[in-house]
């Protein structure tokens, strides 16, 4: 017995885990975040629960928001004379509705995740300065919430698909899922940057709403990609699609509704930008972790 303990004492230092192992690419933090996925789930659950406490119609808001948004932009569409009521039949109307709905659902993923995640670290500073856990979980939980909204809102596409009948493209539906995954990766990179920058410079929180407004018009949220094709030259179309949000929405619409596919070069550019964003955000977030509790 004593021998056993002595042997244990000999390899004393071997199983000691030292903090702050070198992690230049920030990959270790991903593993850490994965290891504490239960905590991520708790945060996610908390965010969902809190969001609809003392809210009368509760979770229904997840459905009401995109419906209202679609209606508003649809009305605007007709009001501004982009479509003549007389020449449109029901199919065109539903097609327009689904183009806008899809755009709004995708945009909400970006908007909600960026909006909630940016303040997530700062709002939780009383916990960050009192206990350690992978801080990445806080912005990630906001992203999960936004994905949850998207999943629930996606249900709205089902009646639309029924209305549209054969013009709903079931064969290329996978492209929409790929687009959502891609967009999530983009949001992941963006929220790591934004939340950690906001921890030191609260300006980020102030400027974000304006950036989001600009972003909404720079992405084909409430208009179809055909308009971009009509008004921009080939070169500028590629530049336009370098915005990953624009590319993702274009891709999803192509998959589900058979809208024109964004130029392949533009898609590649957007892919490259997404990769750069994600990698740099991981590296940056890992570094910012070292001063987070001191400066937040």
């Amino acid at each position: 017995m004593v021998n056993q303990i002595n042997r244990q004492a000999k390899d004393d230092f071997e199983s000691l885990k030292y903090y702050g192992q070198p992690d230049p690419l920030g990959l270790r933090q991903l593993k850490e975040a994965w290891d504490s996925r239960e905590l991520l789930l708790s945060f996610f659950q908390r965010d969902l629960l809190i969001r609809y406490r003392q809210v009368f119609i509760g979770v229904l808001w997840v459905l009401v928001q995109p419906i209202l948004g679609t209606l508003i932009f649809l009305l605007l569409f007709y009001f501004m004379g982009a479509r003549k009521l007389s020449q449109s039949d029901a199919t065109v109307f539903w097609q327009d509705a689904s183009v806008i709905l899809l755009g709004i659902l995708m945009w909400q993923l970006v908007n909600n995740s960026l909006r909630d995640a940016t303040g997530s670290l700062v709002n939780y500073r009383h916990v960050i300065t009192k206990i350690y856990f992978p801080r990445m979980l806080l912005p990630l939980s906001s992203l999960l919430c936004a994905l949850f909204d998207l999943a629930v809102g996606g249900v709205l596409l089902v009646p639309l698909a029924a209305w549209l009948g054969h013009s709903f493209h079931w064969q290329t539906c996978w492209a929409a899922f790929a687009a959502v995954l891609w967009l999530s990766a983009f949001c992941f990179g963006a929220i790591l940057w934004l939340s950690s920058l906001n921890a030191q410079y609260r300006d980020v929180g102030y400027i974000l709403p304006f950036l989001m407004q600009i972003g909404m018009f720079l992405s084909p949220v409430v208009y179809g990609f055909d308009r971009v094709e009509n008004s921009l030259s080939k070169f500028w179309q590629i530049v336009y699609c370098g915005n990953p949000v624009a590319s993702c929405i274009g891709l999803a619409r192509w998959g589900v509704l058979g809208s024109p596919l964004p130029p392949v070069l533009g898609l590649m550019l957007a892919g490259l930008i997404t990769i750069v964003l994600v990698v740099s955000s991981l590296i940056w977030f890992q570094r910012s972790n070292q001063w987070m509790a001191d400066r937040i």
Binding site: Y18, L39, L49, H126, V127, K130, I131, Y132, N289, A293
Partner: protein, 432 residues
């Protein structure tokens, strides 16, 4: 230490230092601050900017120690000695400037009770959330759920939002979750001093129990009695370094000696004196009434005199003096001021416009009032009581010596009570 020689090392701290930056120059949070400080510097002739430079401040310097499994170690030290920084580094919240920290197994840190409680969530939901933040798995929480609820005594309120809890209930629930996390290394900051006495006793019991289960525990507390009771080893931290690492009794003695080394008098020179634009302190001293020379030790059976010397810098200054007394555990004993309703004697200068010059205010504590223990004085001066412009917290410590005048019949220990007044006792024959 002897008992734990054979167990594995649970915490290894190697040459850890932590530097903080004081001052604002060079690290402005906002660009407007940077601009306004530039403008201020310009207005003052460009000198203040340079003199305000960044000051580096070492909260911890070259701290190294090892703690083995099963050891319960207490850390004591004055405010600002670096205790909290050390705990934050050990619990990985703060990254040390240099050096490294290694731990074995799961670390639970309890720097605050109920970290991450959300007021909108119910007790049940908060148990799961808080448990998860503390690092427990869902299955573990579910398994210990009933124990947690029982320990916290909140059965009836499980489905009530925590915002409707009393503060006592919140604290009990928070500690209860933490007490059931069963980590291999437990780090506790000044949280054992929450809740009522009965709950505190249970907390102590829980901490001791965890220690006997072979976990390494590190406790920071100002409650020296608690350290002496539950720890097998203690460390004294002073100005960011470990001064002594020994048995709790030795460390506590040394810590108190540090306080006792005072001469019973604090003098300030003009530059360093606490001052407002109207009043500047010169000195504070303590002595037995009737004696001139100050002393940090006063006799229990003599009145104790607190003497405050200060200078009024402007005509028609209105000044009040307030004194607070705490014992060595930080227990607040009394607070008094030179106002007529609080004074046995008439202070003619209270609330009167004073002319420029030096003044001395004295306050006398009665004889046979304090116990034989150590006490700390705080001073507050200002135009109105309760709105001090000069605050000197814990400015002077003194000890009351038991001369034996009060223990002619009883020779045992008086340890415990804060005050030891002579009371009017009488017994008469009272036949029914």
């Amino acid at each position: 230490m002897d008992v734990h020689e054979d167990t594995s090392i649970a915490i290894d701290v190697e040459d850890v230092s932590k530097q903080f930056r004081l001052g604002t120059l060079g690290e402005h949070q906002r660009i407007t601050e940077a601009i306004s400080s530039k403008i201020k510097a310009l207005l003052k002739g460009g000198t203040s900017g340079a003199s305000q430079g960044v000051k580096d401040f070492w909260a911890l310097e070259h701290v190294s120690f090892r703690i083995r499994q099963g050891e319960v170690v207490g850390i004591i030290g004055h405010n600002g000695a670096g205790k909290s920084t050390l705990l934050k580094i050990l619990s990985r919240i703060v990254t040390p400037t240099c050096g490294r920290v290694g731990v074995r197994g799961r670390v639970g840190s309890l720097l605050e009770v109920g970290t991450g409680f959300h007021p909108e969530l119910t007790g049940r939901e908060n148990i799961f959330l808080n448990g998860a933040i503390l690092g427990m798995k869902r299955s573990e929480i579910r398994k210990r759920f009933d124990q947690i609820v029982q320990f916290a005594e909140v059965e009836q309120f499980l489905d009530t939002p925590v915002k409707r809890y009393s503060s006592g209930m919140t604290v009990r629930l928070g500690f209860s979750v933490a007490a059931h996390m069963e980590p291999d290394v437990l780090i506790i900051d000044e949280v054992l001093s929450v809740g009522d006495q009965a709950f505190q006793n249970r907390c102590m019991g829980k901490a001791t129990e965890l220690g006997t289960q072979g976990r390494a525990i590190l406790v920071v507390s100002h409650n020296l009695a608690a350290i002496a009771n539950i720890c097998c080893r203690a460390m004294l931290l002073d100005h960011g370094s470990i001064v002594l690492d020994a048995s709790p009794k030795q460390v506590i003695d040394r810590y108190l000696q540090g306080m006792r080394a005072d001469t019973g008098r604090v003098n300030w020179n003009t530059a360093s004196a606490p001052s407002s634009d109207r009043v500047r302190l010169h000195s504070v001293s303590i002595c037995n009434a009737g004696r001139q020379s100050s002393s940090h030790q006063v006799d229990i059976d003599q009145p104790i005199c607190i003497r405050i010397d200060y200078e009024v810098l402007r005509e028609d200054t209105i000044n009040t003096v307030q004194v607070q007394l705490k014992d060595e555990n930080g227990v607040y004993i009394l607070s008094s001021a030179n106002a007529p309703s609080m004074s046995l004697t008439q202070d003619d200068f209270f609330s009167k416009p004073l002319s420029v010059g030096r003044y001395r205010t004295e306050c006398e504590l009665p004889a046979n009032f304090l116990n034989d223990s150590r006490y700390v004085i705080s001073l507050f001066l200002g135009p109105e009581i309760g709105k001090p412009t000069i605050r000197c917290e814990n400015v002077l410590a003194f000890s009351v010596l038991d001369t034996g005048a009060m223990r002619k019949e009883y020779l045992g220990s008086w340890y415990g009570p804060v005050i030891r007044p002579r009371l009017a006792w009488s017994t008469v024959e009272a036949p029914l």
